[in-house]
Symmetry: C3
Subunit: 350 residues, 3 copies
């Protein structure tokens, strides 16, 4: 965290109104309601934590207007979680320290580097690569031939871009992520398994984030693509020829098989799996561990494996613990009916 | 893609018959039916895309004989997908540009390198290592002591082979894959958790491919092994002492726990999990996300978690959405029988 | 494996009694009951393998007292698996060969290295880093600014510690593991997705092991933490702000979402997923592929997705294959009752 600043200065920077006792305290950092001290700023975003407003020692709290009078000093926000993020940006320290272009990096003479590019020791840049202004490449980063990286993008240690990968502006590639490895394309033949050469590339839009040790495969032909603003978490797998739209969240350990397309604004929770050659619409939400084997229309929420509409999934899982009882009840009924049938035939007038 | 060539030359190279208008056009590359232009070759492998034959602008199409007269020019194939792959090989450009052995690599004096080996800057080769003819090691590759790599194998950036790993001929290790990390062997004891040293190795056969950021652990004793021709996708986990047979497909994010053996010709779909100490037969197919907790005999297709035979799994999941209704029907029956029983006893003659 | 030693010397080193024919043979290594030769030591830990005692050719076997007379020579143990591990330690060869501090590593002048530290070529150590006595950093390891690593910890190739990560004593970080990548924190706003800066760190206790290509994200604020003695397997994902207690096992491909806390002594089997903001008690066991969406109290075993108590899960899955039959039985009952009802009304006296 950097040096302290006045509460009023933070409020001004965020465009938020201050309410409370009027004292313009020093703010040294940001913390949770539980942990914040009298010179720290806190926030209330999740209503679950509302009771903590009474006991917090925070010097000031980012809250919605309705809670502003429950704390000593408030920064009044319509979107407290977003403004918490903006406040954090004021204090956040940038990852990394290195400046300039290391002589211990390998930079091919036919690579083009923009202005203010940082290349750490141990990075590798192949021929024909174009790197935009203000990019940073950490140690162990590999940029294969003819890759292109937009301005201000950052590649953390050991991230790999195989040949021809295109990364947009303001992207962040977390450590160990691999873009452009070969897609899983093979043909079983009488003479054994034959590899289908993977000749396409990977293209990321702008403001895309790729998580640690995630893998996005190059296409067989053309491109595997991820749209502007989409955020992909750690250990996610994106198969060859997949298209992911804009502003999606793909949470950790999601897997998307080859040639599937995903629309804009989707949220795929952790460990979701989607089979190949499917079309997933816009604004689709998939619950954790769900498994998709059919196309999904726009604006749909699904759960389960295989995935069904979320309300059906929730009703079904609620019934699961009752199955043993269900079988007992059924057996009891069968017995009873047998008795009734027998006694009915005994009662028969003829 | 490399320079263009005549359609007749491609047909000759693939051993395929040309049909159509007889014009021997230049082919500049390969593309999908949708995207191909008049100087590109396309293919029909998946019957789903058959309607596109009528509208494609492709200069020629690799198709089976029955569809040969539906396109302007056809390369007639008995296995269009395989021949598409072979055609792609004619145009595919090799990954990487570096030649020779970099002085910025670390090569232990007691390592032995074959002829025509390429070692990029930033690769590391330990003592006692043997590397076959024509191998390529990209930047960030680590080869621990006493590893051995067969001829023509390629290790992409940041692939790791811990001590003693054996890789066969013509293998391809995608970026970030780790072979020979310690197996997960521990003993809970009254004095806390004790590590069981992992002293074995990993052995890959020939023509094996290992996906990006996959992990194959070394054995406690002896070897974790993967048979000839088997293809392992990204982010797959293979535990210690596992044996995978020949010509298997392990699709992305599969996990196989320790000491399990898998036969030849198996296909494990994405995110499958297999428990430890099991025997999976030959030609076993496991559906996506299935979870295996019992041995599986040869030639079996399974699905679900825990996995059951595929037909049972499919029937069961088809019934899932009907469960809420099932409980209602059961309750209705119970009520009805109660009424019948009561009215029957009311009707009773005695 | 190192040079042979006498059986009596091994027994003395382990504090175990020798029984059998009294011959003090040379032991050259350790092997399974199946594979061990007359100069190898073996063990019986899993009762499943008991029948192999009769046929093993092992020179001696680590067994419990009750089986000591079933083998030629026994080392009598109360915990054979643990003592197998201890015996293996006598023969295990250390991973890696390099000694000292390589000039091909990057070490920032403001980093502090303890005594007997090994730094391989191609490792990177940033400013303000503190590395304890006897640590080893393999090639491609990245240690960001202000990290701290306790004595005798080992980081295998391409392991990454982003800024501020704290690692305890005697830890082992397997290849490609990433500690301290940004947590997955974003806010959907009318102006698009906004990143919440991740400003916290990761803290590992002592004797922690992190698997190959695993990812443990830094906290938004404060710390993501893993307690003493906990072992985390390959490809596991730990989200931001998560707390994992002491002496836990997190098996391969487990995913734990943000802000969840896990107690001491827990075992999470392979591919388990846990949602965010949950509290998992002490000594909790989760079956493979289970999915947790609710808090779990101490000493509980759960299975399924969503997870339910293990006994309910097992009963439910046992019923699954009977569902098609269930629907048939229900339909048969409905028909029968219809008949009874109809015939009852026909029999009605009035």
């Amino acid at each position: 965290m950097s040096s302290p600043r006045k509460l009023s200065a933070i409020a001004a920077a965020l465009g938020l109104e201050v309410r409370g006792d009027g004292e313009d305290i020093d703010i040294t950092g940001i913390n949770t309601l539980d942990a914040a001290g009298p010179n720290e700023l806190s926030f209330l975003a999740n209503p679950k934590y509302m009771p903590k407003l009474a006991s917090t020692k925070a010097g000031a709290v980012i809250v919605s207007a309705e809670h502003a009078d429950q704390v000593k000093r408030a920064l009044v926000s319509e979107m407290p979680y977003m403004d918490f993020g903006r406040a954090l940006s004021l204090f956040a320290v940038k990852q990394g320290h290195f400046q300039g272009i290391s002589e211990q990096a390998f930079i091919h003479p036919e690579a083009q580097l923009g202005a203010n590019v940082t290349v750490y020791p141990g990075a590798y840049i192949g021929p024909g690569v174009i790197i935009g202004d203000g990019c940073t490449l950490f140690p162990g980063v590999y940029i294969g031939e003819y890759c292109s990286i937009g301005a201000r993008s950052v590649l953390y240690p050991n991230a790999v871009l195989m040949a021809g990968t295109v990364v947009g502006e303001d992207c962040l590639i977390q450590p160990g992520a691999v873009l452009g490895a070969d897609g899983f394309g093979f043909s079983r033949t009488p003479a054994g398994i034959q590899k289908i050469p993977q000749t396409g590339t990977v293209r990321l839009g702008s403001r895309v984030e790729i998580g640690a040790n995630a893998a996005i495969d190059r296409a067989v032909l053309a491109q595997t693509s991820v749209g502007d603003g989409t955020k992909i978490d750690n250990l996610v797998q994106i198969g060859h020829n997949v298209t992911v739209g804009k502003n999606c969240f793909l949470v950790s350990q999601v897997g998307v098989a080859g040639s599937t397309s995903i629309g804009d604004g989707c949220t795929l929770a952790g460990q979701v799996g989607i089979s190949g050659h499917l079309h997933i619409g816009n604004n689709v939400t998939l619950g954790p561990q769900s498994g998709v084997i059919k196309d999904i229309p726009d604006n749909t929420t699904m759960g389960g494996s295989p995935a069904v509409p979320q309300n059906i999934f929730m009703r079904t899982v609620a019934l699961m613990p009752k199955f043993p009882e269900l079988f007992k009840r059924l057996a009891a009924l069968e017995k009873k009916i047998e008795q009734i049938a027998r006694s009915a035939s005994g009662n028969s007038p003829d």
